[in-house]
């Protein structure tokens, strides 16, 4: 791969992650009925669809949190869904980042410790992890809030801390599930501006689940999930 995310051999965009015919049921209820989508390295893609369409399940399958009943998930040229739980867990820690709807910061820790958490889990020493977390506060407009705990942050601030935590380890893919879902529209807009700017700067691939068209408009393209499948117009990476 070249630095700009293009395949060194073909010169075309490089496919980083792909779901092929994924079927996933919870008990008797099918959530995905053969969903396929592919994302190129460095792309920001929105996964949209009504509640219950299966879009979060698709995100969880792509991220290796869930494994499909039928179908395949590929990441960086290798099958992801057939890896052991431990290997998938390593992959999630080392190469993926996550942002969820309502921050889910650890309330006992300071904002800086929360941001540093993925580095600490990867075995980076505390001093260095906190030093790497530091610049994210300036970058995301959070200067001076490093020592606050989550209860002392507004919703928008907490979500920006969660975004810093998702990006601090320089993941190749950031999975964001309704990252502005609990925010008012202005705070949500700020989070999305920062998210898309940071992703572009670092070449991070972003898979963004949202039902909100204004949020989806930050993505380069959208994939629409309906009744557990990706509608035919949108699933394939250009």
């Amino acid at each position: 791969m070249t630095a700009d995310g293009h395949d060194a051999v073909t010169g075309g965009p490089e496919r980083i992650i792909e779901a092929r015919g994924v079927v996933k049921s919870f008990g008797p209820t099918p959530a995905l009925r053969g969903a396929s989508m592919a994302v190129n390295r460095g792309e920001i893609v929105a996964v949209m669809g009504p509640s219950g369409s299966g879009k979060s399940t698709l995100l969880h399958c792509l991220a290796g949190i869930l494994t499909p009943d039928v179908g395949e998930v590929w990441f960086d040229g290798r099958r992801l869904d057939t890896l052991s739980e431990d290997r998938r867990s390593d992959l999630r820690r080392d190469r993926f980042g996550f942002v969820f709807q309502s921050g889910q910061l650890i309330p006992e820790l300071t904002a800086a410790e929360n941001v540093a958490m993925p580095l600490l889990l990867s075995g980076v020493r505390r001093g260095r992890a906190l030093a790497e977390a530091g610049p994210w506060f300036g970058r995301l407009g959070l200067d001076g809030l490093e020592q606050r705990r989550s209860g002392e942050l507004s919703g928008g601030q907490a979500q920006r801390v969660a975004l810093a935590r998702g990006l601090v380890a320089r993941p190749e893919v950031l999975f964001a599930d309704e990252p502005t879902g609990s925010l008012d529209s202005l705070s949500g807009e700020l989070v999305m501006r920062l998210l898309s700017a940071a992703a572009r700067e670092h070449g991070t691939t972003v898979i963004l689940v949202t039902h909100d068209a204004r949020v989806a408009a930050y993505a380069r393209r959208e994939v629409v999930v309906r009744d557990g499948a990706v509608t035919s117009l949108t699933g394939v990476a250009p």
Binding site: A197, R214, Y218, V224, T231
Partner: protein, 178 residues
Amino acid sequence: MLSGMSVPLTLLGLLEREPSHGYDLKRDYDSFFGRGKPLSFGQVYGTLSRLSRDGMAIAGPAEHGEGPERKRYAITRQGSAEVEKWLAEPAAPEPHLQSVLFAKVVLALMLDRPAARYLDRQRAAHLQRMRELTEQVQQGGVLDTLLADYGLYHLEADLRWIDHTAARLDMLAQEVRR
């Protein structure tokens, strides 16, 4: 009320259902699309004669009966292609589209055409426009944002309508088919 361009194409679409007299077309138009703003007979007959002149429709022989003489109009192959093109092509995403989108959906269902696919295309066109405006928001100043936001909120409202409609297509189809 439908925009100027929609009336001829909607009448043409109604002709695709079955060859009709002007009177029946007006009645069907008014009940499905007029929504309290009925077409005048002059408008219907004027439109039909223009459609015939342009090769979209063809008039049968005059029928003599009680009252004025009547002609039955039928859609031509070219007319059908024109209806298909209009339905399949997303309207330019701009505010106040409701009447055009409404007419397209109802007609597509009547004619048993893939309304869901048309809506998906419209949805994609709307989102593409929202992406362009969002790009302006990210690069521009506060005034640019203010202007872009106006467009974004209107497009978002359209999109919600598109989603709701897409979810109700089966129900709508039962209502408009016969």
